[in-house]
C-alpha cells in the first residue's frame, strides 16, 4: 500500500502541470465559448450545482446503472454459452463482433423512435456499447483456464460442471474485474451519447443544451462530473477486486 502511494505525488504534480498549461493556453486564446479554462469550468460547475446534482446526475446514473447491470448479465450469459458449446460459440461470436460495427450514434435516433424519449432508448445504447468488452474479456478468461488442470480433475472423475466451477470461474475472475473496470466508463459514455441524441434530462442532454447556448464552460462542467464519477466507481471496483482476487499472474 505504501508503495502504491509513493507514485501519487509525481502523478498529482503531472496532473496539475497539465491543468496549468490548459489554463494558460485557454487564457491566451481568450474565447470561453469554445475553450474555457479549468477554473471557469469549476466555477460553472459550482453555479450549476443545483440542477446538475439533483436532476441530471441521478438521471444519467440511472441509465448507466441499469445499462451496466444488463450488460453484465448479457455479457456473462454470452461468455458462458460460448464457452459451454463450440456450436454456440460459432453462432454467437460473429454476431457479437458484428454488433460492434454498428455506428451507435448514427442508429441511436432510431432507438428513440422505437422506445420513445424515456429511459429505455438510452439503456439500449449503453448496453450496445458495454456488453461487448464484458463478453469478450470473460470468454477469454474462461479460455485461459489450463487444460492440464482440467485433465487432473478428470482423473478424479470430475464432470464438466466441476471443471467449470472449480477451474474456469476462478480463472475468469480477474478477467471479469478487468471487464467491469473497462465497462464502467463505457457505460457512462453510452448513457451520455443516448441522452445527447434525445432526452429531457441527464448530463449528456445538459451538455448539449449548454452547447446551443454557446456556454463552453457549461458544456464541460457535466463532462468533468462524469469523469469524476467514472474514476470514483472504478476505484471502488478496484477495492472490491483486491478483496476478491487474492492471486494473480502466477504460473
Amino acid at each position: 500500500m505504501r508503495n502504491a502511494n509513493k507514485g501519487n505525488l509525481p502523478a498529482l504534480i503531472f496532473l496539475f502541470a497539465l491543468l496549468f498549461l490548459w489554463q494558460l493556453g485557454a487564457m491566451e486564446v481568450n474565447a470561453a465559448y469554445i475553450l474555457p479554462t479549468p477554473l471557469q469550468i469549476l466555477q460553472r460547475l459550482w453555479e450549476l450545482r443545483g440542477p446538475l446534482f439533483t436532476v441530471h446526475l441521478p438521471a444519467t446514473m440511472a441509465v448507466t446503472g441499469i445499462g451496466l447491470l444488463i450488460s453484465i448479465g448479457l455479457g456473462l450469459l454470452l461468455a458462458v454459452s460460448m464457452d459451454w458449446s463450440p456450436l454456440l460459440q460459432k453462432c454467437l461470436y460473429p454476431v457479437v463482433v458484428a454488433s460492434q460495427t454498428i455506428p451507435t450514434t448514427a442508429i441511436a435516433p432510431l432507438f428513440v423512435l422505437w422506445f420513445g424519449y424515456g429511459i429505455w432508448s438510452k439503456v439500449l445504447v449503453t448496453v450496445l456499447i458495454t456488453f461487448f468488452p464484458i463478453t469478450i474479456t470473460v470468454y477469454d478468461g474462461f479460455r485461459a483456464a489450463k487444460l492440464e488442470m482440467a485433465e487432473l480433475l478428470l482423473t478424479y472423475g470430475a464432470s464438466k460442471r466441476d471443471i467449470f466451477l472449480k477451474i474456469k470461474v476462478p480463472c475468469a475472475l480477474p478477467y471479469f474485474f478487468s471487464a467491469i473496470k473497462m465497462a464502467i466508463p463505457m457505460s457512462i459514455i453510452g448513457a451520455a451519447i443516448g441522452e445527447w441524441l434525445g432526452s429531457q434530462s441527464g448530463l449528456g442532454y445538459f451538455s448539449r443544451r449548454m452547447m446551443t447556448q454557446l456556454d463552453g464552460a457549461g458544456v464541460f462542467a457535466p463532462i468533468v462530473l462524469l469523469s469524476a464519477v467514472a474514476m470514483l466507481v472504478v476505484a471502488l471496483v478496484g477495492l472490491l477486486e483486491n478483496k476478491a482476487v487474492k492471486w494473480r499472474g502466477e504460473s
Binding site: 480433475l153 478424479y156 472423475g157 466441476d162 472449480k166
Partner: protein
Amino acid sequence: MSILEFEHVSYQYPGEGFDIIDDLSFSVEPGSFHCIIGVSGCGKSTIFRMTNGLLQPKSGVIRVGGKAIGEQKHYCGYMPQKDLLFPWRTVGENLALPLEIMGGHSKAERRELIDAALADVGLAGCRDKMPEELSGGMRQRAAFARTMLTGSDLLLLDEPFSALDFLTRISMQEWLLAQWEKHKKTILFITHDVEEAIFLSGSVLAVTETPIHTLAEIPVPAAYPRTRACLTRPDMVALREDLIGVLRRQVQS
C-alpha cells in the same frame, strides 16, 4: 494377481500414421515400485494417459485390480510433472479437490483427512498457506498428498521431480521411497533420469524402441530399504551404464 494389466493395447495419435503403442502387454504386481524409463517423446506418458482414462486405446484391454478400467472410477491416482496446485486455493483447499469431486465426505471429515495427509508428508501447519508460499519440494509433496487422497492403491507419477534442483530431487526420492514403504501402494513412476530410475525401482521397465511393443523388465539388484550408498556398488554402476547405453542407441538411431 496383478494390479495393473495391459493386454494387446495399441494407441494411435490422431493425425499420425503409426501406432505409438503397438500391441503392448505387461503387468504390474501389487505393492511394487517400477520406473518406466525412456527417451523424450517415446510414448511413455501415453501409457499413463491411457491408464488414467484421459486417452482411449485404439484396441486392447487395460485392467486395474482385475477389472477393465471402463467399468470403474477412482482406481488410480495420477500426478503430472507440474504440481498443478491451483493458485487461488490454499494448500488445504487444493488437497480437498479429489475429495470434493468424489463426494461422500462431510466438511469435518474432509478436514481431518487433509490434516492427516499434510502431517504425513511433513507439511503440518501449511493448510492455510497459499501454494506460492511453498518451495518447489514442498509443492511436490503437497501434490503427492493430494494424489494420495484419491485413495487409490495404484499411483501413476509422471516425472514428478524433473523440475526440481538436484539436491531437492534426491531428498524427494528418499522421501518417496519412505512413503511407499509406509503406505504399501503400487507406484509407477515415469522418468528419463537413469539414476533416479535405478534408485527407486524394484525393477526398471525400459522403453527400448518407438513404437512401443514391449517394456523390457530389468531387475535392480539392491534390496529395500535403500540409501544412496547403494548407487556406488559395482553391480548398480554396471546396470546404470547398461541402461544409459540402451537409451543412447535410441537417440542415435
